[in-house]
Amino acid sequence: MMNLSRNIERVPFRSIEKQLVASYCNSSPQTQTKQEEFRALNIRNVKDPFQTRRRLQKTAVFPPRADQMPVDQDWGSVWPGPRSFHPATVPLPVRQGFTEKGAPPPNKFNNAELMKIPNFLHLTPPVIKRQCEALKKFCTPWPKALDNEDKIQKNFPIEVISSDYCYSSPTIRDPMARIITVKFKLASLKLDDRARDKFLRLVGPRYNEENDTVTIVTDRCPLKKQNYDYAMYLVTALFHESKKVEPWEEMKSEADMEIYCWENNASKKNIEALFGCKSEEIPNAAEYSEAVSHYMNEGENDYTISKYGEAVKKLLKLQGTN
Amino acid sequence: MCATKVLFSRCFAVSKLNTPILSYIQQNSMSVYPNYYIEPIYRKETQQELVKTGEISKYSHIPTKATLNGQTCSDSYDPVIALFTNYVMRQGLKALAREQMDKCFENIKRLQLEKYHKCTTEEEKLKIELDPKKVFHEAINNSKPLLQLTGVKRGGVRYQVPMPITDRRSEFIAMNWLVDAGKEKDRKVRFAMQLARELVDASNNTGKVVKRKQDLHRQCEANKAFAHYRWS
């Protein structure tokens, strides 16, 4: 029963649909006048399927300030201090950033790459010049006698490096300012071989072999003055400690030697025993000693071993067969 | 409908382009090489022959498998010995097998040279074959059986039927017999030594392996009445 009733209800709707379709087909010649508009099939009979979206009103953007800058303006007052890059303020056509091959790098507008890197636009040559002029009245002249590097090196062998920091912040004490670096040439200490060896062992990696420089950095103490005093103390202590000969140093035996020294080795005793006289009196002993030291110090290879053989031949006065 | 046609044809074109890649994926069961790789031509003679006939240009762009490290163009290489080495090999220990073969040849030379130096006359000396490879080939030749016995079930009875065999099969049997003979030894004797002795014996048409061959022939002769009972 239920089914039947529903069917009955449906019938008039179907007929309406039919009529609609028919009317659509018939109405087509009437709407020919609006040719530009695309006629969409509207089965469900919705009134206005296409709603136009309201456009956002854009606020007007002023042109960048850089466009209106005069050529002869004072740049120092436009860009007085350190600041991150601003495209509208910098009147330069700078470009920065990665692109695919062939394309130019992105321009300065909306360019994060340019804003990330530190710039020195506040340190242009005229600005620096102006600042130097302002500072000049606080400086003393450079001593005239110290006109070249050698003289500086000779008269002032110790070089002390420290940094001062000056910027606007609640405190004027920068933690980096306390660090003291002391540099000097090892040769200026005029140490003998033993003392030099000991000095080198004491300073360890602070010695640079290439330019013969010792570098001591002190940053333990809170104040610059304290660190400076400590560095000076260190230099003094190192110097005197390396000059001192401790009793245990005499116990250094041949096994502790880093390099083979023919003079105090069994090789010398051997040939002295062999010839029954001092090594200086033996002919060709010098060459032999050199060959042995080479052989021991440079390691074994065909060259050193043949040199050694030659030296032995000369020492023992063997005739060369080759 | 037209659009679908176009789409299909495009798909087809794509699959056509992909064919070499597909065939690359196809492989020979366990081999590391795809099946279109060809075996290497490592012998100089074959290479020269190909150059002469002009077939070499055919091979120039075909991907080739790498040569195995036992295969060489050296004149000391002998394919039969390489095959025999593979039969000697157990559990994939090729290096060991090769070492054993080398020692075996050394032993053959020592055995033969000993005999050679014992000989008093030149004629006797000439009779002794000093080249171990020739000894080896002769030994293989002499131990090749002519027939083989195969079990055939007829009316519930199993008959041993003599069958003629191919050359390849008979070579295989001969080599296997020689390897077996090398293993049949006292514990103190080394395999290489025993194999050398067997090879020398076989090359002189004596020894265990030749006897084994003759025994097989005898058995075949005894069962020759069943010869017509082969398959079918």
């Binding site: - | 027939l147 048409n205 075949c220 020759k224 082969r230």
Partner: protein, 121 residues
């Protein structure tokens, strides 16, 4: 049931088939244009005569093979020729080439033959 007696009536009437059941063909009722692929094997028996000749020679010579060189060679030659013959024949058969005068034919050869002279439709 009480509500819809007419439905029950319909059911009863359907139980009786009104027309005869149509015949279903599992295969078409006519001869095929080929035969199925079942192989008859060729006999392997060969060289019986050569073998017996060789055996008699071997027996006479205490199984010293080198003394029966001729017999052995003829036996081996027979076997190799048999093998090559067999191979050639099987190759032809695989390809379906017909050998004139051949009475035993493989399924493939028969199919070729049937294709040439098909059954009447």
């Amino acid at each position: 049931m009480r509500l819809f007696p007419p439905l029950a009536f319909i059911k009863r009437s359907r139980a009786v088939p009104q027309e005869p059941v149509p015949y279903k063909y599992s295969v078409p009722l006519k001869l095929k244009q080929g035969v199925s692929n079942k192989g008859g094997k060729i006999s392997e028996v060969c060289c019986i005569h050569e073998m017996s000749v060789m055996f008699s020679c071997l027996k006479d010579n205490e199984f010293q093979q080198q003394l029966c060189h001729k017999e052995v060679e003829s036996f081996q030659k027979c076997y190799t020729s048999f093998l090559t013959d067999k191979n050639q024949r099987s190759e032809r058969e695989m390809k379906g080439l017909l050998t004139p005068g051949e009475k035993r034919m493989t399924s493939k050869q028969l199919n070729v033959l049937l294709k040439k002279y098909p059954n009447l439709e």
